[in-house]
Symmetry: C2
Subunit: 438 residues, 2 copies
């Protein structure tokens, strides 16, 4: 018999149907015997009345693949108000070992026990709540792309195998590449800038690699970077673009993944039309006053300040997201642009959301002579002909417009939208200094 | 003045507008002086009448970033029927060096001169025809995802950093991973199978890595793999799914990217509703008869046979694509499934399109005991506890349904849809044994 998906049962009341899926739960109470079947569309309860059918389930563990043929019956006591009755059981794949972890709980894991979660990831992902994390992430990715399409972006695929380390040598993975050494891309930075010279607006959503030597709640060695780069714009345009992006994706997933978000008690973020901007020095001053710590004059934000300013913005600016501006020019990358009116500051903002930086946003130096100067100053005088820098410099030598962009961590955004404690909880198979499996 | 995109000029006849972009072509004929401007939406011709304005263009090379303010004028002789008149020129970024290659040709490159193409890729991509390749690829990628969404797939992001080599040790890249060795994923094979246990239907479009030691027209060391995996299906379902996929993406790009395809003289492929299947032995026999070569009994197809059978199918089966079936079971990977009725054959087909294999398609062995047997037979008896295989085996130990899937090369499909000679022409920044830059 043709398979019916569980999500379609409600429309087939009193009909005999076949569902196929995984045995998700067994409650053999003697008198009343229930099993729950899982397929890609949901869970369905079945009442097993016939003793011979019941016998087929003996010794079968959760995860067994079964086909159930029965009559769709409305029953208010059943989850979803629907139940299968008069069920015939066909065991397609018997499982005889008890799974290493339970998968039928509504709360799938605790943030303090992540090693257990990841060690058992393969089976743990069969839990509905756990699945919801990555359904939300898939919905988020779809919404991000829609937003890019609506703004006239072209999707690109740039190489992750690079000839030489360019940005920061320490956190770069190196590999044998035939008789050479290659490195893994830490970001598509130069390539997306180069591509502005062709398409003006490009985006890429792809893995990037950082040899991050510390295991934190915020860092991984491999993550999915959402990169956008735009030509003929200024920093205010970038801020508006990102404000719009956060709005768009929030609206999309709260529409498409409402059930999934509810299962995690996720709350829709408070976001004004334009995300507010707070200068770094103001954060330092206010944070120091509020906490007694003295951060005034520091050139970066401490993680605790990131959390603090997000709380501050939520209370005082009605926003759970905030741009941090006025980064010192001394901390720039060579490809960043200094502010024209105040060259001691970079034309850069960081986008914070719910206590953590989710994106760095900056204008790029696009004038060939200026970028050569900055390269010399920030990297070294012999780097002009370095094969890692050459392509970017070539694009500027032959004409690049004012441009800028951002890199946004997909997993961090997923994490913060759902309200998870650790970025790894929003990663299917996370990688860090201690973890390369499963 | 607000910027007007070139694509919107036609709707602003007789208005004064400002366009911004790159100087794409200069024809200073003394009497009549024309320049062509390029922005992300197209090319526009401008007539420079005023001597002072003309003076600003002196010595400016192609690629210079300029803003032109002028009156939109209908002129049948202008490309697109529109021209700017009474133009005031503002030079935003002057370029003084002549670009290393010409970018205003309608034929952007010749397939026999690819090193020049790739050495100058950064600037070459400013050519309209060259840009069209990757606009088509972006359209194709969008269409592929739409097809997956319509068929109830969940998008996943699986790790490319792996603990150990699993499939074929020779073509694997190895890297230092802190105090360990990691490898780069050759495909998301095991992860997508594992995820069938959660979502039944998953897809991923992401880079994969092969330490391919030969430079051919078909291979690269990094490419974009379009991976799909489906549970509760059989080989016929997979074939129908892929027939539908080719139809859907062809229809989509011939609707969304018609102009871009025309610039390459691309012809819409001939595809019947269901792509025909030809058995390998039949191909060997017919090819041997047709060519005088003897391939009867061979366990694979030669590249020349792939080309031949595509020509054969076009002529005799009205299809430019064909499934090759009846692969010998002796050549299986351990995770492939043998045919139940004839265990000397694998439940596998290869999808050929216009002379080349674009996807391998197979059912997977899903029964725990059988996959253990095959692992022992094809890989080795001690591989059961290997950290590279363990996760896949775990998923089967705790219940996996019949499932199968495919891996399709995005660049190969792009190449063949457009009609390019080399897969690298359909890659922004190709990587092979000889090329890690730009």
């Amino acid at each position: 018999m043709t398979r019916t998906l569980i999500r379609n049962l409600a429309s087939k009341a009193n009909q005999t149907v076949t569902v196929r899926g995984w045995l998700h739960k067994k409650r053999l109470l003697g008198g009343l015997n229930f099993i729950t079947l899982r397929d890609r569309s949901g869970l369905a309860q079945s009442l097993i009345e016939d003793k011979n059918e019941l016998e087929k389930l003996r010794g079968l563990q959760i995860g067994s693949v079964v086909a159930l043929t029965g009559v769709v019956s409305a029953d208010d006591r059943a989850p979803g108000g629907i139940e299968l009755h008069n069920v015939a059981v066909e065991v397609e794949v018997p499982v005889t070992d008890e799974p290493p972890i339970e998968i039928d709980k509504s709360i799938s894991h605790k943030s303090e026990n992540l090693d257990t979660l990841f060690d058992n990831r393969v089976i743990g992902l069969r839990n509905s709540q756990e699945q919801n994390v990555f359904k939300i992430q898939a919905g988020l990715t779809k919404a991000l792309r829609e937003y890019f399409y609506r703004h006239d972006f072209v999707e690109i695929h740039t190489p992750k195998l690079l000839a030489e380390a360019t940005e920061g040598g320490a956190e770069v993975f190196r590999l044998e590449y035939f008789d050479k050494t290659a490195t893994l891309a830490q970001s598509p930075q130069f390539y997306k800038q180069i591509m502005v010279g062709a398409y003006e607006r490009v985006f890429e959503i792809a893995p990037v690699y950082r040899a991050e030597p510390s295991a934190t709640t915020r860092h991984m060695t491999e993550y999915t970077s959402v990169d956008g780069e735009l030509g003929f714009i200024d920093l205010d345009d970038l801020k508006s673009f990102l404000s719009g992006l956060l709005h768009y994706v929030t609206k999309s997933i709260w529409s498409d993944c409402e059930t999934e978000l509810k299962s995690w008690n996720a709350t829709k973020p408070l976001l004004p039309k334009e995300i507010p901007t707070v200068a770094m020095s103001e954060i330092h001053t206010k944070y120091s006053q509020a906490t007694g710590e003295n951060t005034v004059g520091e050139k970066d934000l401490r993680p605790d300040e990131e959390r603090w300013v997000c709380e501050y913005a939520k209370k005082n600016l009605a926003s759970e997201s905030v741009f941090v501006s006025e980064w010192p020019a001394s901390e720039m990358k060579f490809y960043h642009q200094a502010n024209e009116a105040d060259p001691t500051k970079a034309d850069r903002v960081d986008l914070l959301f719910r206590g953590v930086e989710i994106a760095t946003v900056s204008m790029r130096e696009y004038r060939y002579n200026m970028v050569l100067k900055q390269l010399k100053k920030f990297v070294g005088s012999d780097s002009k002909d370095h094969p890692g820098f050459k392509p970017l410099l070539t694009s500027m030598k032959y004409g690049m417009p004012p441009h800028g962009g951002f890199g946004l961590g997909l997993e961090r955004l997923t994490q913060k939208l759902i309200g998870l404690a650790n970025v790894k909880e929003a990663t299917l198979f996370p990688r860090d200094i201690n973890r390369l499996t499963p």
